[in-house]
C-alpha cells in the first residue's frame, strides 16, 4: 500500500465547483434512471430494476464524493512547466512544459456560467495530454490564460 503523491503547494479550484460536479452527477443519474425506468415499465424488461438500483447507488456515491473529487483537482505553475493533478481513486499527475503549448481554451458550461466559473484547457501537440483545469473563477481563468500564453511565448520550441 503506497499512495502516489507529489508534495507541493497546490492551487485548488474554486469551492463553488462542487456545485457543478453535484449538478452534473445528479442530471446524469436522473437521465440514466429515466432510461432504466422506461425499459422496466414500458418495454417490460424485468431485469431493468437491477440497473435502476445500480444507477441509484452510483449516483448517491458520486454525490457523496463530489466534494472530495472537486478538492482533489489541483494545479501549480512551476518555473518552466505546468503541473496538474486530479482524482482520488484513480489519481493522475501531469507535467507539461510551457513551451509545448499549442493553444489555451477557456470554456464555460451552463451551470459553471451561473456560478461565474470557467474551465481552462491546455492543448499540446499530443492528443493524449488531456490537461484541463475546471472550476476556475472567470477572472482567474482569464489571468491564467494570459499568463500561460506569455510563458509559452518566452519558451517556444519548434514542432
Amino acid at each position: 500500500m503506497q499512495r502516489l503523491d507529489i508534495q507541493t503547494d497546490w492551487n485548488r479550484v474554486s469551492p463553488k465547483y462542487v456545485v457543478v460536479v453535484l449538478v452534473g452527477s445528479f442530471v446524469g443519474g436522473v437521465v440514466a434512471a429515466a432510461i432504466a425506468l422506461f425499459c422496466w415499465l414500458v418495454l417490460q424488461w424485468s431485469w431493468a430494476w437491477i440497473a435502476l438500483i445500480v444507477i441509484g447507488v452510483v449516483t448517491v456515491v458520486q454525490l457523496i464524493i463530489a466534494g472530495r473529487r472537486a478538492r482533489a483537482i489541483g494545479y501549480r505553475l512551476r518555473d518552466d512547466d505546468l503541473l496538474m493533478r486530479r482524482g482520488i481513486m484513480f489519481q493522475r499527475f501531469v507535467s507539461v512544459p510551457y513551451g509545448r503549448m499549442q493553444l489555451v481554451d477557456v470554456t464555460r458550461g451552463p451551470v459553471a456560467r451561473m456560478l461565474g466559473l470557467a474551465d481552462l484547457k491546455f492543448v499540446t501537440a499530443a492528443a493524449s495530454s488531456g490537461i484541463e483545469i475546471p472550476g476556475l473563477p472567470e477572472d482567474d481563468a482569464a489571468t491564467l490564460r494570459d499568463r500561460l500564453v506569455t510563458l509559452a511565448e518566452s519558451r517556444r520550441t519548434g514542432l
Binding site: M1, L4, F90, F93, S95, A126, G158
Partner: protein, 548 residues
Amino acid sequence: MSEQEARPPVVPHSGGTVPQQSGLADGEWHRLHPLTPLLRGGVALIAVLGIIIANLRERIIDFFVHMPQYGGDPIDEIYNRGLTGWALLAVAIAILLAIGGFYLAWRMQTYRVGDDSVELRSGIFSRSHRKARLDRIQGINLHRPLLARIVGAAKLEIVVAGHDANLHLAYLNSHAAEQLRREILRLASGARAQAVSPSQAAAPPPGPEPIDGAPAVADAQGFAPSAQRSRAGGFSDLVVNRVDEFITPADLDPDAAPPDSIVKMHPARLAGSLIFSGFTVVMLLVLAAIILGAATGRIWVLLAILPGVLGAFGFYTRRFSKSLRYSISGSRDGVRVGFGLLTTSSETIPPGRIHAVEILQPLLWRPFGWWQVRINTAGRSRQKGAAGEANTTTLPVGSATDVERVLPLLLPGMDDTARTGIARAAMSRAADQSVFTAAPPRARWLRPFSWRRTGYAIADGNVVLRHGAVWRRVMFVPLARLQSVTVEQGPAHRVLGLASAAVHTVEGPVRPRLSVIGVDDALTFFDLVGAGAIDWAGRDTSHRWSAS
C-alpha cells in the same frame, strides 16, 4: 548536437554531370511537368476516348461509305436522323474542351519555393493557394508511380504537421524533383543561401532550366533528366536516360546520400516476415473454420475460400513488391528511406522531426530474431510506406544488428555507447540489464508475463520505455520533443505500491507508456523526464540543423 556541429556546414556537391542547382528554388513561380494532366487522370480520358472511337469506328466508316438501317440504341437514333455530323462535332468539341480544361488547369497550377516557404497555387474557377513554412516541414517524399517513371516524372510531397495539410507537387521532372527536394531541405536547414555560392561558382549549373515559359521548351526538357545530355545525344540518349533511371534504386541521388543502404533487405527474410505475420494467423483461423464447416457437410463453404485465397495472394504480392529494393541511409539532411519495385518512393525525414522510435517484435518473429522499427512524426502522408505498411514503419523487418545500424539515424543526438547499450539490453535478456529501472517483482500480480521486461531508462536526452511479452516493444522518446509526462495510480496499483507512467508525444503508432512501475520509481521518472523535457527542448537546435 555535437554530431551535427562536427559535420561540415555545407558539403559542396561533387557531381560531374549532375547539376548543382535546378534554379527552381529561386522564389519565382514555376509550372509543373507538362504531362501532369495525363499522369493525374488524363489517362482515364484517353481510355474513354478509345472506347468511344472503338465503338463508333464502323459507324464512322459507314457514314462515309453507305447508309444501312440500324435500330435500337441512341447512337442508332442519331444516325437514323442524319445527325451523325452534329454528333461528331459535339464529341470533338467535348474533347477539345477537356483538353483545353486540362491545359488550363496545368497553366494555372504553379509553385514557388522562396527562402522561407513553399507555395502552390491551383484551380481554374476556385483558386487555392497553399503556403507551407520551410521550418515547419516534417518530411519530403518523392513518389514515382510506374507510369510517371516511364515518362520521367515524379511526385513531390511536402509533409507538414496537421490534418491533410501536405503540399503535393505532382508532377515534376524527376531529376528536377530530386534537386528541388535537396534545395528545400537546404533552405529548411537554416544554412545561408550564400554559403552555396562557392560551389556554384566552381561548377556552373549546366542543369535544366526551370519548367517555365513556353510549354514547348518545357516539354523538350521535361523528358530528359539532364537537358545537356538530351541536346547532345537526341532521342537515343533520351531512351538511355529513361532506362538508366528505371534500373537505378528508388533512392537515386548519389551525392546527397551515401549510395549504399546500411541495411540489406534479403528477399527471403522479407517473405518470412510476411508469412509470420498477424495477417497469416487470422487467415489460418478463417481457413480452419471454413474447412471445419466443409468437413461437417457444408461443401459449398469451400467455394468461399477461392476469393479469399486470391485476395491473400494479392496482399502478399503487393507487400512484397512494395518492400523490394528497400534502402535506408543517413544524409546531412536527415534519414532517407527508399523502396519499391515498379512504383518507387523515396522519403526524407529531416533531423529533429522524429518524436518517438519504437522497436517491435511480435511473438512469431521471436524465433528468427526479427524486429521492426516504427516512428512517430508530426506529419502524415497518405502514401503507404515501405512494405505497404503505414508510412511510419521505417524498417519493415530486420535483425538486431540492422536495428542497431538504423537507430543512429533515427536518434542522431544520442551518444553511441549509451544507445547501443540500451538497445542491446532492451533486445536481449543476455545483455547487461542494469541500464533499465525495472518493475518490482510484486508487479507480477498485474502483469504476470511482462513484468520482467517492463522498465525505463533515461540517457543522453532520450527516455527509453520497454514492455510487452507477446509484442515486445522498446520505445525511445527524445526529451526535446515529448509533449507532456504523466503518472497514474488506480486502486489495484495502490494496494501493490505500483503506479503507471506515460509520455505523451504527437499522434502515431508509438504510444510510450509503462503499465506497472514502483511508486518511487514512477515519481523519479516523473521528475527526471519533466526536468529533461524542459532542459533538452531549450538546447535542441536540430530543427534548424545546419544553422550556425
